[in-house]
Symmetry: C2
Subunit: 246 residues, 2 copies
């Protein structure tokens, strides 16, 4: 048996998220079907580094699967890409020890959220950027992010229905990049709760617009109450950028 790890990019627009769902087009479903066709292993299952919600994109999602197939590791991308639709592309393949697991072996994740601040949405980025046609002050937003770096209980910044108990996560960095009308915010952390990046972004947008102050952040974190933070920014601005192992 061999354990194959793939780096997967997808445009999430036309997928109902990552996880397999009956009758719906999902990343895991489409990828698993292609792999079963190639390997003729009907029970073949892929493991993702994590689910992405409907509409969320990926540049560096990571999946692994265990197979009896003897296809050389460097042939996997092309073998899969000829069978996959245009909105799902395998970028790389590696062979890993049998104990490697895309989710449990992951050490850090990087997400990127893109905001388009032009007066009207850029047609070429409309699928990948959230259009915010209001003045945003990036200095205020940067100031607010200082309160999120480090180890915090992010209960206020995750969906109220989040199933996990422990809501303490460590954030390593939040970087801003401005280019033309776009503002990209990159988050690197040990892991993220459900909707966490989107709620952080929704809150930072309120700070950028002057509806919240950077100094409001400590009280919102301490409240451990979802209703205290900002809105959930839409899925289509979010991209799972990279998953870091070891």
């Amino acid at each position: 048996m061999r354990n194959i790890r793939l780096t997967v990019a997808y445009d999430g627009t036309d997928f109902h998220g990552f996880q397999v769902q009956p009758q719906l087009r999902t990343v895991q479903g489409v990828l698993q079907e292609a792999l079963r066709l190639i390997t003729k292993e009907e029970a073949l299952q892929i493991h993702g580094s994590g689910r992405t919600d409907a509409g969320v994109h990926a540049w560096g999602q990571v999946v692994n699967f265990v197979t009896r197939s003897r296809i050389p590791v460097e042939k996997w991308p092309v073998a899969l890409n000829v069978r996959l639709p245009n909105d799902l592309v395998i970028r790389e393949a590696f062979e890993e020890p049998l104990d490697f697991h895309a989710r449990f072996s992951a050490k850090r994740k990087v997400y990127r959220y893109m905001i388009d601040r032009a007066p009207y949405p850029n047609v070429f980025q409309a699928r990948y950027a959230y259009h915010v046609p209001y003045p945003l002050n990036p200095d205020r937003m940067r100031e607010a992010t200082a309160y999120f770096i480090g180890r915090h209980d992010f209960t206020s910044f995750c969906a109220a229905a989040t199933p996990v108990e422990d809501k303490v996560r460590e954030l390593y960095r939040i970087d801003f990049e401005e280019k033309d009308s776009f503002l990209s915010i990159t988050f690197e952390g040990e892991g993220f709760l459900w909707n966490m990046v989107r709620i952080l972004v929704g809150t930072l947008i309120l700070v950028g617009r002057g509806r919240l102050s950077p100094d409001d952040m400590p009280a919102i974190l301490e409240a451990r109450d979802r209703t205290r933070a900002g809105f959930t920014a839409p899925a289509h601005g979010l991209t799972l950028w990279e998953v870091i192992y070891q």
Copy 2:
């Protein structure tokens, strides 16, 4: 009567080109319908700076129309954008003298062609970049472009069915920009023949791959024979970038 000029961006993927065609979704058709709804002028007609073929995009297409409407010029973009689909956006509006015509008043046009040289297509640019997974030598391509700059008969570099008689055009510049896996080629000229940019790009790709030499260009130009130049690069890599009216 007032003459309104609009700067229009569109993702050409889901349009059957610019020009109105019965039963088909075209840029002119969708835009004219929105304008007729707003102005209630059934005969309202828009003039484009030129047609773009099916699948070709625009960042700075220019159109004009004459109307009795008293909507202030700065209100036109928002009035239209709320009615237009996501793949067609009005970026700017200006009022022009009555003798302004988007096509006849144009002095120069700028087109951009984007090539993706990654081993597998970038999912986020798959609609806007032509995927060429072969090594391309940009220095050879640049060398070839030197033969195109200036005033030439481009009969070899336009569709054989091109209806115009005079195939002499002046090219002012051809610039290359490399970023990540992308190679963008920008063409600025007084005007372009049917498929001219796409055939120039197809020919430059053959030069970049070593199938043609830069020094073959003068003979191809002199032959005035479409079959001597390279293939017509696909529409989806091409964007009408800007129309210049001094």
